[in-house]
């Protein structure tokens, strides 16, 4: 039998660790409700006296509103396009074993490359095509990250999917495409949604490519946040409010997709 002492010690240490990892996030949320005086007071005010929503209103009417809209447009369209391009490709690679069995790994390694490698050619290319500082440009740039991710994620799903159902549909006279759309896709909906949402988060959080490829017409959340802290008079309350809005969708996705997040981030090393 184990003694009770170590058990309590275990929980205490774990609690301490969780506080360390979670408290800064709570701090961000609290900052967004503080008055400017509370932000700069010392000793620091941890819990604001009044729940103050004016930072949210302030940042939404300024740079934050545009950033939120731009990030939704870019990350949303990019995730959809990544699925449209990636899911059929993953299926083809899985069923016809294109490129041998290690092909998916090589696709994945494209995603591991430093983003600056594609930022430089894309900058020159987009200058010629007048795609710099446009939604379309950034959406295309993120395809180079997210299509490989979707292909890799969906290929391992299709590998595990039994072929019997498709074969039955083929016997019944459906062609390959019909079998894919009517039989395989409905079965794959949970995996498709998960990979799409993860692709959304990657685009939502991305910074370096946006720094290269956009200026003022398109400003995603990370770009807007980094320029807010660079100004003369830094409005920490507004930055906190914008940070909360940048974090919120991501936290919701973590709650929904815990298992897939672990799998996706660990490149399939664990099932989660």
């Amino acid at each position: 039998m184990k003694s009770r002492g170590p058990k309590i010690l275990t929980y205490a240490m774990l609690l301490l660790a969780i506080l360390f990892f979670v408290l800064p996030v709570v701090w961000i949320a609290l900052t967004s409700f503080k008055s400017q005086a509370e932000v700069f007071s010392y000793p620091p005010v941890f819990v604001p006296e009044h729940i103050n929503l004016r930072h949210y209103a302030g940042v939404l009417s300024g740079a934050g509103g545009q950033a939120l809209r731009d990030s939704f447009i870019v990350a949303g369209s990019n995730a959809l396009l990544s699925l449209v391009a990636g899911v059929p490709a993953a299926y083809a690679i899985s069923r016809w074993r294109i490129g041998g069995q290690h092909f998916a790994m090589w696709i994945l390694s494209i995603r591991m490359f430093p983003p600056v490698v594609s930022a430089i050619p894309l900058f020159l290319l987009f200058t010629n095509l007048q795609l710099l500082d446009t939604y379309l440009g950034l959406i295309i740039a993120y395809l180079t990250l997210n299509v490989p991710f979707v292909v890799w994620f969906m290929k391992s799903f299709f590998d595990d999917l039994p072929r019997d159902l498709e074969d039955a549909a083929l016997v019944d006279g459906a062609n390959r495409w019909q079998a894919f759309v009517r039989v395989v896709v409905p079965l794959a909906i949970p995996a498709i949604v998960s990979s799409g949402l993860l692709a959304f988060v990657f685009a939502w959080n991305e910074f370096l490519l946006a720094l290269f490829l956009t200026r003022s017409a398109v400003k995603t959340l990370p770009i807007a946040l980094s320029s807010l802290v660079g100004g003369h008079e830094i409005l920490w309350g507004q930055i906190g409010a914008l940070a909360v809005m940048a974090i919120l969708p991501v936290v919701l996705l973590v709650m929904l997709l815990q298992r897939y997040v672990v799998r996706g981030l660990s490149l399939g090393a664990v099932e989660g």
Binding site: L14, F21, V22, P24, V25, W27, I28, V39, Y42, G86, P88, A89, A92, W96, I98, H102, M105, L108, I110, M112, P114, P115, V116, S118, A119, I120, P121, L122, F123, L124, L125, V151, W177, W204, N205, F207, L208, L211, F212, L221, P222, L225, S226, I239, A243, A246, V251, V254, M255, Q258, V261, V262, L265, S266, L267, G268, A269, V270, E271, G272
Partner: protein, 278 residues
Amino acid sequence: MAPTALLLLAVSIYPLLYSLRISFFSWELTAAVPPAFVGLENYVRILSDDPRFWSSLSKTVYLVVGGVLIELVLGVALAALVVRCGKGRSVVTALLLIPVMIAPVVVATQGIVIFNVQWGPLNYLLSLIGIDGPVWLGDRHIALRTIMLTDVWQWTPFVIVIMAAGMQSLPVDIYEAAEMDGGSAWRIFRHITLPLIQPLIVVTALIRSMDIFKTFDYVYVLTGGGPGSSTETVSLYNFLQGLEFFSFGYAAAMSYIQLIIISVFASVLIRHMRKGLA
């Protein structure tokens, strides 16, 4: 459908090939002269005649080695605690995944406040337990470690979650046998758990190494490479060569050197993943 697969491959490989081409040119965006083919000159200059590159590389390696070691030790130790939580594990995992999924830029903007020396909460909390907190971002001997701490904060939870999932999937009967034999918790951990999750540790170390090697967002927002150039990582220097100095050929060559280094990690990783994990 097969053609779409090949088309996609083309789309993702095209920028890489174009970048390789640019790296063989002297390609100054600000100068009126057109790009000129210079062969390997950019590579030779970076490797033999650019101390700033080597300095940024050594800082990056410092971040990688330190960050990966700390994250693995903390991650494995805390994972061993998480797996004992039983039903609470799913809640703990959800909480731990929050930092992991937040944009690094958001983390860094808030880091400016948290690390602030005059009114930041971190040094205040340290002062409560009698510690005189350092000048986190303004001291050239400390700033790089502050960047490392930021990475440790954001990514240790990821290591914990992965290790906990790995430990959870280990066969229960081995543990029962070991406990019957009267092994202490530490001995069981040291002689059974650790060897069994070792492949997972290797894979996690490689994934984290590649990510830390690309560290850019924290540095850009928290310190801009300073004070002096004490936190200038390869990614940041590479970015400056591109978007500040507009030497695109030089920057492309530098990005290719990074790519080669990352590829070494990636090919080791792929070999390990092929061997199959538990």
